[in-house]
Symmetry: C3
């Protein structure tokens, strides 16, 4: 939605320098900017290229001094301001508030106002879908699942029966929510693995985003939970009974084993492996590819952990340096 | 299905202490138990909380002594007994023995008695489906594939043409069975990769379970095989020509390269990487995130391997300890 | 398609020894060969078993000397010749040049001649599909995406809006192309993660193949690009803004973080983790499970890198040896 530079400056709380009446229609990188675009600069060195670009306005940090022919929105956090401006200027994808005739919706399902259900979606018995939620083509929502308002489920998502999503949850294509956990009991006589019941639930809080083809298991007997605002990248695995707090960030291909507890504000790199029954305290940071042994407690905040088994980064780097030196000596 | 405590005691082979006529209707964790629920205790310390819970009966280990107002089922393996009782008490999901009208089933396909085919499933030419097998919404079964009896394919599973599944195979949502292996030949003149034929088969034995979004490739010219009773977690990759034995357990996100042989009863942690042409002997255990170099033979049983390249756990731990000590000394 | 040994010899540029009129109908491994099959031998030791097999003809290396009753096609690169012969002899899967009535194709979509669209496919507004491209059952092609000629999309692929594929691109089942990248900005006041815009594009070159359930994100503001001839295995993650060159090979479960640049002819093993803004120079080789720290430049060609953080293989092996020796000494 087009609006003036002044409106955007007010919206993001920036100080406006220059002509506030210029109309903005979108956002862009500096390299690809066209007239009508807003761009942003986090580093003074890139300011000049922003001014030389075809963009109509620039968000810049407090380092901005000399006036320019383009209007400038000055603020402490240019990247954050840009993200918010983008949200404001975003052309909302046209999603018809309608149920496509090729969708198969159980008559007992309840759909809120403005719900958009695309081609070939399957909605099971007793499902509840909050207002304005969008379900992309081919997704399957199991019986008695409950989705909040303003959720976005991309194509081919599978929601197992009984799973509960909060509001504004985003699940990218191919995500699986509520699959059986990996639990077996070995019969020592026969040597065979027998399935332990996986009948628990999965609850996902507001504003959670889950990347393409990630999988989240339901609880075995209890509940798997993902807290408000947590962001999960592509191809991540979350096992049964896991408890993830709020505003946690988990990068691609990380695996979280059963019964792990991750407190608020934890940041986890890509391809990290977390053993079962681990606890990761609030604010901890785990470097990519690190591995946490089962039942460990990882202290937070402030210390970065790395390696397998994970240890404080500084310690790990010292070990690497010692080893490299010794190997060279020979 | 509801039944009496006595029936369950007989079913799981437990010694009954107390009133056998109490009716059970389900299973639960101790924390969430309601009247009618059966719970289990593996550790004497938790016995008291089981008795204080709202559960109607308790499975306990041989440590059980003092009688209680609740009936107790005493046995050597409480967890196994609980899993079996759960199976007995399980409310079978109501799956109509029917083919949903929105499914697309080739007229040449053969479906056994009691088969349940959900919305939008696509069944190709010449497919055979055993009695009572359930195929979840949106799954696609390629031409001439053969599924055994009592299989459960969750939504959005893809079975490539010609793949064969045994009986009671479970494939969770998004599983891909029989995709092309990763095989190319580099033309040294042009530098281009040309596709090596991937025309082999995939055969999966009885009682195999495969977790959400895992992928199993067909053989290149030969057969990829997964043996009876093997359990595979989410997001696991199994390459072409791999031979996996019986009762093998593979945790999430592990990758098995082409032509690997894994013997019976092997246990593999999460995020393990196994190079091509590796052989893992029966009963071997690979710790999470370990890596096996191509063509290696991993000896089993009894030794746990860890690290990359994987070595006996004890050796690896000693190395870690030595390194930590040296790094501290500086 | 059946043809004579002589035709195949000409096709692959091999020297024919023996009866060129023998008819070939397919390819096989030596162990499984039937009359009419062509097999290949890369190593002189296996020549005898090829001759003893039921195959009708043998491709062999220049080591071939003694004549045999079977016709032999002698060439420098038997494996490459076999792959090309396989392509020639391949029974093309019968894919009807038709749009299945259960598919949902937007009237504004443009389909080239001979396009094959299977059951339940969804094609959005303004999509362009090149001649002879095949789209497997259940795939979803977002608005304004453009697919080249002779592409093969297996079942359940999701192509996000606006994604562009070249000619002869193969995407296996469950692949997700063009999903949102993983980009957030933390509001320091609230501690919440806010979504950074992910509105860029994804462009995939000719002859790219992508394995089952792999995911490739669109650019944030710019373009994610995968160059001609690059081959990607199963469950691989490619982040936003990544630039991958031509003829690159990436094995299963590798993760490529945002803004990474991978030059031509790079070979990357399985489960490798590549941090953001890394550059990998042409011809570099990364061993399986290695990890590249953010912003590093990996030199190529000719040096193999291994370990986390990745270092030249020789260096890493020396470190492992030193460590093992020290651990034994105690």
């Amino acid at each position: 939605m087009a609006c003036s530079v002044r409106e955007i400056a007010d919206w993001v709380g920036a100080r406006l320098v220059g002509d506030g009446s210029v109309e903005l229609r979108g956002i862009s990188s500096i390299a690809q900017a066209s007239p009508g675009d807003l761009v942003f600069v986090e580093d003074e060195r890139h300011l000049q290229s922003a001014f030389l670009s075809r963009a109509s306005a620039v968000i810049a940090g407090e380092f901005f001094r000399a006036e320019n022919s383009k209007p400038v929105l000055v603020c402490a956090e240019p990247r954050l301001a840009f993200a918010r401006a983008a949200e404001r200027l975003r052309t909302k994808r046209e999603r018809k508030a309608a149920i496509h005739p090729s969708a198969s919706v159980d008559p007992s399902a309840e759909c809120g106002a403005g719900v958009s259900i695309e081609e070939r979606v399957v909605i099971g018995e007793g499902v509840k879908i909050g207002a304005r939620t969008w379900i992309g083509a081919g997704s399957v929502i199991g019986a008695h699942a409950a989705l909040g308002e303003d959720c976005e489920l991309y194509p081919q998502v599978t929601v197992y029966p009984g799973v509960r999503l909060g509001n504004r949850v985003i699940a990218h294509a191919g995500v699986v929510l509520g699959s059986d956990g990996f639990g077996y009991v070995r019969d020592r006589t026969s040597g065979r693995q027998e399935k332990f019941p996986q009948i628990g639930r999965l609850e996902i809080g507001d504003d959670v985003e889950i990347g393409a083809n990630s999988t989240v298991d339901r609880g075995a007997l209890e509940v798997t939970r993902i807290g408000r605002g947590t962001k999960i990248d592509n191809l991540v695995h979350v096992g049964h009974n896991v408890q993830i707090g709020e505003d946690v960030v988990i990068a691609a291909q990380t695996g979280v084993s059963g019964s792990v507890v991750i407190d608020d504000d934890v940041v986890i790199g890509g391809q990290v492996g977390i053993g079962d029954h681990v606890r990761i305290e609030a604010g901890a940071i785990l470097g990519s590819q690190s591995g946490i042994l089962p039942k460990k407690v990882v202290r937070g905040p402030g210390v970065v952990f790395w390696g397998t088994p994970a240890r404080p980064l500084r310690e790990y780097l010292r070990e690497l340096a010692v080893l490299a030196r010794m190997a060279k000596r020979r």
